[in-house]
Symmetry: C2
Subunit: 424 residues, 2 copies
């Protein structure tokens, strides 16, 4: 007997038939004797519809600004999960599983006051634990909680993964199963490299890098939270037959386990290759090399809500001028250049050069820490394919390489192969 | 300065443009210096969609029964008003009116535990009154409240009118304006009799009879509540231009005031003609005329949830056998006959005769109490048109007449004319 939190995203609960399918997944675990809490998203498309209404309202009203009250926005969009939670509870009851829905405000899942992008502060799981002990399944609305002002707060897009991990931590669950429309975490994007393999296990740190580097299986926040609270998290598919062989295997269900690195017996040097398209590069030439210059550049960009990613600064030759390169999303390039033109004189640099449509390819692996030459292998392999490297940044378990957009797929396949990821 | 509760139904908030229009109605009253609370329904069609999902779920799950948990049903359908409340709050803010949404559970509007058909027990209006004093408009979800189990309870279909009147009573509002898709209460259905006139005032008692007898302007429950708490209620149109002349006239806005009969200076003998189609008549022949026989008949029908309307029992000639006639909705006729066949021997009657597709026409007027001959006028007028009367029931302020379906419109027009209702 274990305690499991199961999370189902929007495509997994897209309609009545899919919600029935979710109920069958839940019943399988209940029948195996486990205590189960379920966290659900809104039915696919519903959140978008609600968000669109909220955004349209000020415009139709002829308002001067497209401002809308984030507290009202939260009230509106949170209704999506409310509907799913009730429908799944009915679906479970219909197949003989005791269940009840729980809204974030009923538990309560307490958040801070940052409506629209709230953070979970505390979850009182006592009543849910008590009822799970009596065999009742808790169906919990993801993505939302109760703010200190007694109003509904949402966690921001993709927040349901975060809700699920937070609930798992609060309930001291043995496992958090994230059911989604893919069947696990792959060594790279299978649409780019058909030889990509599903990983049976990946460490929290690696998953965090993968998610940050563009793999869209899980929200970064949820992985952070899982890492902090050491919540063993399975990524698995809701689209498989709930009663297919092995689906109820407690120790090794089909999917990828995200866990502490101690649980991964044989560490791979490299675990996966991620990529992020639509990067743009900005280079500032002959920047005055003095204290405070970085703050003078990145402070105004942060204030303009521009997410700066890779930052490369070389040591200047004579200690007076240097070049600085960094990346931003292509969509933010124009705004970023405008911001930088304004601070040109105060910061002190000669020229802004920029280029859009680039790609960042990342090699990720916890084994890198103890293996030399991992980066050199990447550079050599890319050079052999004639792929020019624009910039490089590294962390303890990651190498990120900025290249020209058209080479994205070739680079991913080359790196996937050179580290032996396409071999069993 | 007055305190006003404004209620807008589903067609009045059907889309973003209509919600903007509602905001303009609200702004008009705020600009006139009034304190305003608004009660909203779900956007037209939304509740039906949600109800359909809740009903489909057990069937798709292959459940043995179409049962669904009323608490989950409430969770699902209550989301409709939640969305409207947030959107209207944004719409109001967009045109410079301070506003916030209130969910039933936030106020709270306390109900009993009868999920799906709950009754309002208590409303704590203190915080709303405080904020109204500061100029903030409260946008309140209709149709729902918080049950003692800390879960959302809905009031049943059309419950938003009831919410509005209950909120008006709790806030000690000077007036409750029910905005709908018609511009008031008419002497009869204008689709049947184009000469029907809008009433400027009608008493609670008359409105109660009109609503019970098939006029669909207001829910019967809301009129009952308004009568008990003496809430002056205006029925008016949300489809008129919010800034048209006279719309902001506090004493005489365009519409019909439902009020205490003391406020109606010159009482009409007859105020209106209502009709209800799809009635079915059941006659039990030669029923044993002894104590308990009525209970033996109507008890089992009530248990089967069949709503019996007109009941006519004649005094038997010899004190041993009598005939009994009553009406049920045509949709329930088959079920009613099945129930009655089962109790035939225990109750003791000879034959069940039934006929579907009948119409009940009702003449309503508080002045009837002090005027003789009102019923005789109706019978004579119908006879002159060759309309056969099947059954008659009367109350202090109402005469109901059961006739054959095809004569419905002719009967309504005849009665409307004979009481002079088509004259100014």
């Amino acid at each position: 007997m274990a305690r499991i939190v199961m999370k189902f995203g929007g495509t997994s609960v897209a309609d009545i038939a899919r919600i029935h399918n979710v109920a069958r997944h839940v019943k399988r675990e209940v029948d195996a004797g486990h205590e189960v809490a379920v966290v659900v998203s809104a039915m696919a498309g519903k959140t978008n519809e609600l968000v669109q209404w909220a955004q349209e309202m000020p415009r139709v009203s002829g308002a001067d600004s497209p401002f809308f009250d984030a507290r009202e926005y939260d009230t509106i969009v949170a209704s999506g999960e409310q509907v799913t939670s009730g429908l799944l509870a009915i679906a479970l009851q219909s197949i003989g599983v005791d269940a009840r829905s729980w809204q974030g405000w009923q538990i309560p899942i307490r958040t801070d006051n940052a409506h629209g992008a709230a953070r979970i502060l505390e979850i009182d799981g006592s009543e849910i634990v008590r009822r799970m002990g009596l065999g009742q399944v808790a169906v919990i609305t993801g993505f939302q909680g109760l703010a200190p002002d007694n109003r509904i707060a949402t966690l921001g897009r993709g927040g349901s993964d975060t809700s699920a991990v937070a609930v798992a931590a609060a309930l001291k669950a043995d496992r958090c199963d994230i059911y989604t429309d893919v069947d696990g975490v792959y060594t790279t994007d299978p649409r780019v490299e058909p030889k990509a393999r599903r990983l049976s296990r990946i460490s929290f740190e690696e998953m965090l890098e993968l998610a940050s580097q563009g793999a869209k299986v899980l929200q970064v926040r949820s992985v952070e939270l899982a890492m902090v609270h050491k919540v063993r998290t399975f990524v698995r598919s809701s689209f498989e037959d709930p009663d297919a062989p092995g689906m109820g295997d407690f120790d090794n269900p089909p999917g990828t386990l995200i866990c502490d690195e101690d649980e991964i017996v044989e560490q791979q040097v490299v675990t996966g290759i991620a990529y992020a398209k639509d990067e743009a590069q900005i280079s500032l030439r002959r920047v005055a090399d003095r204290p405070g210059v970085s703050a003078g550049i990145f402070g105004p960009l942060a204030e303009a809500n521009i997410n700066v990613d890779m930052i490369v600064q070389n040591v200047s030759e004579d200690g007076s001028k240097t070049d600085m390169t960094f990346t931003v999303p292509t969509g933010d390039l124009e705004k970023a250049v405008r911001v930088l033109e304004k601070v040109k004189d105060s910061v002190g640099f000669d020229v802004i050069q920029s280029e859009a449509g680039l790609v960042k390819v990342s090699v990720i692996g916890i084994g890198m820490r103890s293996h030399a030459g991992v980066a050199a292998t990447a550079f050599k392999a890319l050079a052999e394919k004639g792929i020019n490297i624009r910039a490089i940044t590294t962390s303890e378990i990651k190498i990120s390489i900025l290249i020209d957009g058209p080479y994205a797929e070739l680079a991913v396949r080359t790196l996937h192969s050179v580290y032996g990821l396409d071999k069993q």
